[in-house]
């Protein structure tokens, strides 16, 4: 679907609160604009963003047209065990884009 960019610290201490940043290239077309011929440009937005930590959902977001193009979301997680953090974006058309990052906890 598009290019996604995630920022997860590579190494963290057990119990440390780490900041996660996630961004995806997406127009987030609101459906309220009209094109050159006066017709409405159909809505095309990312509706949902989820973040799973070793398969368990730890953060999610429902997005509406008022979220900027190339949606950027920053949040925090507690580093519990080493593993993978997966990110999923799904849009109006039902397409999904995933990204993942590994974290080492010691």
């Amino acid at each position: 679907m598009a290019r996604a960019l995630v920022n997860v610290p590579k190494v963290a201490r057990q119990g440390e609160v780490v900041e996660i940043k996630a961004m995806i290239a997406h127009p987030m077309e609101t459906g309220y604009r009209s094109g050159p011929n006066g017709s409405n440009i159909p809505r095309d937005i990312i509706r949902r963003f989820t973040c799973t930590y070793n398969g368990e959902e730890v953060f999610s977001a429902d997005l509406f047209p008022a979220v900027s193009a190339n949606p950027f979301i920053a949040f925090t997680l507690v580093a519990t065990t080493s593993g993978t953090i997966d990110f999923t974006w799904s849009d109006d058309a039902g397409k999904t884009q995933t990204a993942s990052a590994d974290i080492t906890v010691n």
Binding site: Y32, G35, P36, V67, S68, P71, A74, L77, V78
Partner: protein, 166 residues
């Protein structure tokens, strides 16, 4: 024999069920008004209605949430917001959801974030669109079911959403 109630004979060429001239004009004018308004201006829940839908009618208290929004926005297409809620973020006491609402965009909702004890801190940042100078409200739902909110207003010089591509 039963007659159609809408079609009572009232004279040559006139039926009671017909649309009168005044009625016709009135309907025409309402129609024109509806066409001339932009699509989003017709129906949008107010800020309070949108918050009530989110909380399910529960009382919303002021405090425990901080909404950081720049007071003067040059480009309404990307306004950085940060919401921080005061919470120990433990299994027993954490922030369940954080929602952001606006006052004057075509849609009242901006985003809803679902958090939990594993978030560690109740802090979320994102970038939003603001169609005009307005008030933005952040509401946090705690695990005990209480709702806390914070509002901030921004002056927008370049609006988002409404500009056309033509």
């Amino acid at each position: 024999m039963h007659e159609d109630p809408l079609r009572v004979y009232a004279g040559p060429g006139v039926y009671a069920g017909m649309v009168g001239r005044r009625q016709f004009l009135r309907a025409g004018m309402t129609g024109l008004l509806a066409i001339s308004l932009p699509r989003w201006a017709v129906a949008r829940p107010s800020l309070e209605e949108a918050i009530r839908t989110f909380t399910g009618g529960a009382n919303v208290l002021d405090g425990r949430v901080r909404l950081d929004l720049p007071p003067l926005v040059e480009n309404g297409n990307a306004v950085g917001v940060t919401i921080v809620a005061e919470s120990p973020m433990t299994e027993d006491d954490h922030v369940r959801r954080i929602a952001v609402f606006n006052e004057k965009n075509p849609e009242a909702n901006v985003a809803v974030f679902h958090l939990g004890a594993r978030s560690g801190r109740a802090m979320v940042s994102t970038r939003i669109r603001l169609a005009t100078s307005q008030v933005v409200v952040a509401v946090a739902e705690m695990s005990d079911g209480s709702f806390w909110s914070s509002r901030a207003s921004a002056i927008v010089t370049l609006a988002a959403c409404i500009e056309d591509l033509s």
